[in-house]
Subunit: 343 residues, 4 copies
């Protein structure tokens, strides 16, 4: 049964495995101090230009979020997020486990707004309350929407005004940067955020998130934080080799673009079938709202996530495509969607 | 320059990379709920027999240690270790970061003794002190020694008497189980410990520690702990695929045996050169004590770790071999050792 | 300037200070293992009857909340509270500091409802999310409302069904139990909760919260938790002496009754002045909604808290009375309220 | 039975209780922002001179230590202490509970030495280890010895050289400053440490430690740390009133002097009885080494702590005197010691 459940179902892109295999017996320095990590970082820096960034490679998203926020927050400091924010809902309290409150604000279309930040700051004005010290956003967001440069700039401004770090979780940054709705570049991200991540796990790597740090306060001693949270890999070069491959010949962007294109085919089929969307479908996650009869039929032949009830007899579902999604798989679902309409 | 610095310098055994490549586009369930993890666990269980174990796959050693100990300890509980214990010295306070004191006892030959445990328990008798609730040991130890079945059984007895969990860190378990000094099996470990780990990172995998839990209290909700500490991989199947390969046709043991054999060649050369050892060299880490003139010569052509000063003009050094160490590399060092003597 | 800001402005009731002075040079056992604590607990137990409770004496509210919740929750466990809950808003992240997420639900009239709990439990169904394991309520609530026996029984039932501990913060328990809206007794609380507290700080003591534990799992090792969080006083007997006095001749209830009576006089004056209330005024905290012209006049002669804006030109304020509030102080404010109406 | 077990057996000095009673109904600002705290701090500052210090009042020793160290340390930072240090042995893992390793060094005569600090710093040189960032000492120490100005100056120098905060736990600072072995003043402490405390609990107060902060980095936001750890009292003025009394007319010093004098009488009697000491008896704690026959006799009529076995048939015991110890109580023990010798 074909799965559109997520973008981390498949192992890794063949070119990545090829790079690993070619260096099978090569001896490397441990803990990320090797030449593959160095080359990967140089490749990433070539997209960033003259912002002085530090780049580290960690395993997964929750680990990355808790390590970065540990480095940003003092014990009584809190992080502002949308209610849907991954750190607020799907990390089993990992941020609280590091001692920090997540201040969940409503957001709009899955995105945090300057007004959300202002309100969170205004609400916390004394030592009897937590102190907001960082802002967490995801691009693409948890519902597949993307930030524009204007939106991110506005967030940066309010963060600067209130002395807040801005941290962008790019677990699906490839999908964001190659979305038709996007006008941001890696260079913009380095300018506008204090820390952002470039997700590998959901875009062709076996695992791995590159953490790009432009704020020099956070740069200092970050490796201590990594080791302290169990996030420093003995074989750091395995992550380095993967990002080295991903950023050669723009593979990272080409894989994400493919995933987005596959999702657009599904989007068109949903539109044709008359299904509305939770939010405008612009990346590799789309959220059609389907009647429950259609839902039941689709579930017979395809795996995908049931997101939440829309109303009495409609349900929001999620289709996710990936670097590995083949067009013939998509066409099967397109046909199924077409068949729903015809019945 | 050939490196005998550690056993995590090389990427991964070709058979592991082959297994990954063969399943490159296969769609798998996320978070370790896939068939590769299941098969790997079945293979491991085939060595364990009728002990009811849960098996989970995590990324690295520090992460594994902090996750297991989080599951074992209440806020005021402490873990007993040797002074040399990895959790006591080389994890940047990760265990304390989870809120727990490490009670460091002297140990003998790198190994914890029943007397160490008794003393730690006797010293902590009231609510004004931490409460010892778990014992941490490593096999092989941090200095390459191994536990015998009699020793482990004695530790188990004192742990049972004092209601202490027994946790064995097997980051180098392959080297231990294939050491000439060993008489333990995986089945023994499952019987005698509450939790033990089977290290992949230092024995041919890209990364990965298998956590084998026989205590049913620790089994319950362990996945919550994993997610909470950022230790649950989205692509858990990548770890599953690797352990699947390692436990087919006894590859895990064959790789470790190779590493130990390579170390024995080095040991013989050290003996011939007249170098004594910090501790009896029985696994893939050996610690010759060399005069400083010899040290300087060796450092010209080989990478290895300088462990600590032995006296005014002697130094303890560490040679580590791995699954990937080729005999010709070893012979180069053997010749160099021989040359030292001849001069 | 007379203050109606809170109920912890004045030192302590003279009978408490008298008890301390009378035992000035008496030698007592340390850490709460003395006879005064024992007698205080026996007095409290005389109100509770045949529920087997442990009683401990801690200094303050935040300290008590973080210690009790530390004893109830594993690292990935969360506590359900109303959005207004003290642990959610006014403890500077102390609960998160112990590693736990506060799941904030809307509540009704400041009180948590069974539906709130059901919803929180339904929303958290997998290991990717925190695990709700305890419920926190306050009586009186943060806005002065009180739970009825029927309401508390309903919460108990839903807690039992979902294996949730029920913890009642009684920082203002005196005001609750002597409210005209109350039909609960200390005995009911011991039956219906796992842990509840009897607040001394806000009802005549220098400081001190009695923690009454009926759940035997939480009873075990609670003193370890106290010491671990810095909540075990060397001179525990100082707290014991105070609760000894408070529970002789029902002083605790008489002081709270007095505070409530004083608040009722203010309530009547507010009603006469035509001011509505945020919630029905039934305890020693009342929240009239005043026009901003009146607000300004009142602020000239009295101290009280401005709670929040009600609308463009109305503000919710808070008047708090205490065991120490004298009727002539209240009459001054009553006259001021009367004068507002006359103008 | 007379107790020489500790210096926190008796309630509080009558003048303290008198001050509380005289302000029984006075309305004060909450959370330590009142005039009594202000006056107490002004009185303390009058001893300190031109060092710009912030002063806060907390309840107890463990609470104070965990709050101060929370403010000094980042997650991976560690604190250096002697092995006997209170934070290392008798706080039930409170410092580890805040996430920090205690690096326990041997010390000399209960005191930390510059060489201890140097060694701890040299041993921790990479991101794989905790990072020493603070030094904890106690004056008097846990075995009653006191630091000289020369010793404290030498510690300050090594701390400055290695960027370490210096924190002096003055739970028994009164006994230290009035010891015949002392040449330090409060002013010296403010110059030489980053934070020191003035213990009230063990010198006549109901409870309370004054935290004196001269380092401006630690001064900033310290009240957030206090609230976060549950260490901010609603009725902060109760602590303020007590320190106000203690620092009027040098009461604090006079009480401590009395305790030390009482201990000297006991010391003389021990010397006459031929008992050696664990360490030179210079403050209100003395540690005679008694034969076990004498021990048994003394235990019939007096309470005191059995410290540890000295050898097969000798035991180190501890006598502690306090502000409340009356000379006739001491004389009873003196006679008992004399009687031992005569038999």
């Amino acid at each position: 049964m074909i799965s559109f459940t997520n973008d981390y179902s498949e192992c890794a892109h063949p070119l990545i495995l090829k790079n690993l295999a070619e260096h099978c017996y090569e001896q490397n320095a441990g803990y990320g101090l090797d030449n593959h990590c160095k080359r990967a970082s140089d490749l990433i820096r070539s997209y960033i230009g003259n912002v002085n960034v530090d780049i580290h490679y960690l395993n997964g998203g929750t680990q990355t979020n808790l390590t970065v926020l540990s480095a940003m927050l003092r014990p009584f400091d809190a992080v502002i997020s949308t209610e849907r924010g991954h750190i607020n809902t799907h990390e089993t309290g990992a941020i609280e486990g590091c001692g920090h409150k997540v201040l969940a604000m409503p957001g709009e279309d899955g995105k945090l707004t300057p007004a959300d930040i202002e309100e969170a700051v205004q609400m916390h004005f004394s030592e009897h309350m937590v102190h907001p010290a960082a802002v967490y956003i995801s691009d693409t967001t948890e519902i597949g929407s993307v930030y524009t440069k204007a939106e991110l700039t506005a967030l940066r401004e309010v963060c600067t005004r209130h002395h807040l770090y801005l941290f962008l979780d790019g677990a699906r940054l490839g999908a964001a940067l190659t979305s038709t709705a996007n006008d941001l570049t890696l260079r913009d991200l380095a300018w506008l955020t204090d820390v952002f991540t470039i997700g590998g796990t959901k875009n062709g790597a076996l695992a791995g998130e590159a953490v790009v740090i432009s704020n020099d306060v956070i740069q200092r001693d970050f490796r201590f934080y990594m080791k302290h949270t169990g996030a420093m890999n003995a074989k750091g070069f395995v992550l380095g080799m993967q990002f080295e491959t991903l950023f050669q010949n723009r593979l990272y962007f080409r894989l994400a673009e493919h995933a987005n294109n596959m999702a657009q085919l599904l989007k068109d089929a949903c539109v044709a079938a008359g299904f509305p969307f939770l939010t405008k479908p612009v990346s590799n996650q789309i959220f059609p709202v389907v009647d429950d009869a259609s839902l039941e039929k689709l579930q017979k032949d395809f795996n995908f996530e049931v997101w939440e009830k829309a109303d009495e007899d409609h349900t929001i579902i999620r289709f996710v495509t990936s670097w590995a999604t083949r067009e013939e798989q998509v066409q099967e679902l397109v046909q199924a969607l077409k068949a729903l309409k015809e019945n």
